[in-house]
């Protein structure tokens, strides 16, 4: 075949065109998401393995609200983690695909970067790994990960968005969960009335102030598990992560309806222990506890007020304090008056952030 000058010219033009085509942006060149500076929080832990980018966060937000990741396209992450509920659930246990029901209340998603473990039982150490479970759980989204990847890859819009957010990776379980993680990292709550009080921007009500005093002293004994000074981001403790807070009366360690952390650690002594949850946004996140048994904060306060229910591994500090109260004051529980309970509730509600649940960046993008 003769190749004329024209042919050569065409080939050359094609080659030049290819070489001048814009290379896709590398991950390192993507514009990072700018997190807010929060002076009264400790430094936000870095996520070097999955730094949040603007395009990654946008993609994760879309995925979070999209039922595409469920078997019958009816359940999204937001089904169980409702933005108006501070990303918790309206139900004690939210029904999944085809009405299937698991056993635990959906935890509120807030200030996740500061947690050291995830889920009520601490099964996962990273947010993105936590994202794996609900997609494939038959009681939640009931979709296999290979099918999830196929769906996302086969959607032109998602495919292009993944190329943009993860230019050096294929669409995979890893990139889907990373996108979700990037969005979830942005769910930061820091403008509750109590936050503004700490920043000296507002005054708390006298009732909430009295409640704070109950909270942080032996009167309420909350500080053993919920520390406002060590963990202003979450109001949890930094060393003790899982505990049995005296919810249920059991005689042996095998009688718990849900072993919680015990099923993860494999240690019987850990049965009945659950992750200490944040106290932020309680005004929006009812019902409460790992199984959503309490519909109101009043019920929660009443539970703690009665003192820990007997079980072999109830939190040692709670137990010791209850025994001390019994010996020195003649009562096992906190013995709060109705006014004191109301004061404590007022303080707890002051940790709820209206700006967080109304933030347009945390709503469905479609």
């Amino acid at each position: 075949m003769k190749v004329g000058i024209k042919g050569i010219a065409i080939v050359l033009m094609i080659l030049v065109g290819w070489s001048c085509a814009e290379d896709p942006p590398k991950t390192a060149e993507l514009e990072l998401y700018v997190f807010p500076t929060i002076n009264h929080f400790s430094s936000m832990p870095e996520n070097a393995e999955n730094p949040a980018t603007k395009v990654g966060v946008a993609l994760g937000r879309k995925l979070f609200f999209d039922p595409i990741l469920s078997k019958n396209n009816t359940v999204s992450c937001a089904t169980c983690h409702e933005s108006a509920k501070a990303f918790s659930s309206s139900f004690p246990v939210t029904p999944g695909v085809d009405g299937a029901v698991g056993r635990r209340n959906a935890m509120t998603l807030v200030n996740l970067a500061w947690y050291k473990s995830f889920n009520w039982d601490g099964k996962e150490d990273h947010i993105r790994d936590q994202n794996i479970i609900p997609v494939q759980d038959p009681n939640e989204m009931a979709l296999t990960w290979p099918e999830a990847v196929t769906r996302i890859s086969g959607d032109d819009e998602y495919f292009a968005e993944f190329e943009e957010a993860f230019p050096e990776e294929d669409v995979s379980q890893a990139t889907i969960t990373k996108a979700l993680e990037q969005f979830q990292m942005t769910l930061i709550s820091y403008n509750s009335p109590f936050d503004k009080f700490i920043r000296e921007e507002v005054q708390l009500s006298p009732q909430a102030i009295r409640g704070f005093e109950i909270f942080r002293t032996e009167k309420g004994d909350c500080f053993h598990c919920h520390s406002e000074s060590n963990s202003p981001e979450l109001f949890v403790t930094t060393r003790l992560i899982f505990t049995n807070n005296g919810l249920d009366t059991v005689s042996t360690l095998n009688e718990f309806a849900d072993n919680g952390f015990g099923d993860v650690s494999g240690i019987q002594q850990d049965n009945g222990k659950f992750k200490i949850p944040t106290l932020r946004n309680l005004a929006f996140s009812a019902p409460y506890m790992h199984d959503g048994r309490f519909n109101t904060l009043d019920e929660v306060i009443d539970m703690y007020n009665r003192g820990p229910a007997p079980s072999p591994n109830v939190d040692e500090a709670m137990l010791a304090d209850a025994e001390k109260r019994l010996e020195e004051l003649g009562h096992w529980g906190l013995n709060l008056t109705p006014q004191e309970k109301s004061d404590l509730k007022a303080f707890l509600l002051s940790l709820s952030d209206e700006e967080f649940i109304n933030n347009p960046e945390f709503q469905a993008p479609f």
Binding site: F41, S42, E218, E228, T237, T238, L240, A320
Partner: protein, 241 residues
């Protein structure tokens, strides 16, 4: 001439490069709880003076502003702030001038200014950080945290299973300690124990604590008298043998 000048410079340079390590030595202090003079192990069952079984699980103490004092009454700093976590992280080390020191001074706890600092302002590894979980909104920093178990039965000779938790803090418990002893710091590592008889926490010159009855103390306002007894017994019990 230039050659000799160069030689002088080299000789001077050699002499001026004295090895600093010949003038300093390493010292390490470690917290050493004992029972009748013998080292106490974590969760080892030991007895109070009236024969009640108890055990130690954890002891965390802020030791601050440790100084060695030499014969000229000069003070040499060993540390500023350290958090001892017995049994896991139990030592305080420093490099100090070689000398024969006659005493050691230090504080148990934090001074008022330090006690008012915010734990979230420190890196996780810092002894004052939130990660150490030594700070409570109620009392600021806990200076001493003692966790153990005691047998509260009538006879007191059973396995100790009831929790003892003493969390001692507040500015009034910031305590100064001076121990007269000879510390011969030479070039090699010297190790010195900060020893105390565990029993003397509960029975001492400052008063007595019945650990079967008074098992919890968070330095609340109503418990400060007992917190003070335990703290002062502790600092009085410390020695460096």
């Amino acid at each position: 001439m230039k050659k000799y000048l160069l030689l002088l410079v080299v000789i001077f340079g050699l002499f001026s490069c004295d090895d600093d390590s010949e003038t300093t030595g390493q010292v390490t202090f470690f917290l050493n709880p004992v029972f009748n003079g013998a080292e106490v192990l974590p969760n080892e069952v030991i007895q109070t003076e009236d024969g009640r079984n108890f055990s130690m699980k954890e002891l965390r103490v802020y030791f601050t502003d440790i100084f060695l004092i030499n014969s000229d009454d000069q003070k040499v700093r060993v540390n500023t702030i350290d958090l001892i976590n017995w049994p896991s992280n139990n030592t305080i080390s420093a490099t100090v001038p070689i000398d024969q020191y006659k005493s050691i001074e230090f504080h148990v706890g934090l001074d008022e200014a330090t006690n008012s600092l915010n734990p979230i302002d420190f890196e996780d590894s810092n002894p004052l950080s939130a990660d150490q979980e030594m700070h409570w909104g109620m009392i600021k920093y806990r200076f001493v945290s003692f966790i153990g178990n005691v047998d509260t039965s009538a006879v007191g000779d059973l396995q100790p299973v009831n929790l003892i938790q003493y969390h001692l803090g507040r500015d009034s418990l910031y305590s100064e300690v001076t121990i007269n002893n000879t510390f011969n710091v030479v070039g090699a590592l010297q190790t010195y124990p900060l020893t105390f008889e565990v029993n003397e926490l509960f029975t001492g010159a400052s008063g007595d604590i019945d650990i079967a009855v008074h098992r919890t103390n968070h330095s609340g306002e109503l418990d400060m008298d007992k917190a003070s007894i335990i703290m002062h017994n502790f600092v009085e019990a410390l020695e460096t043998n």
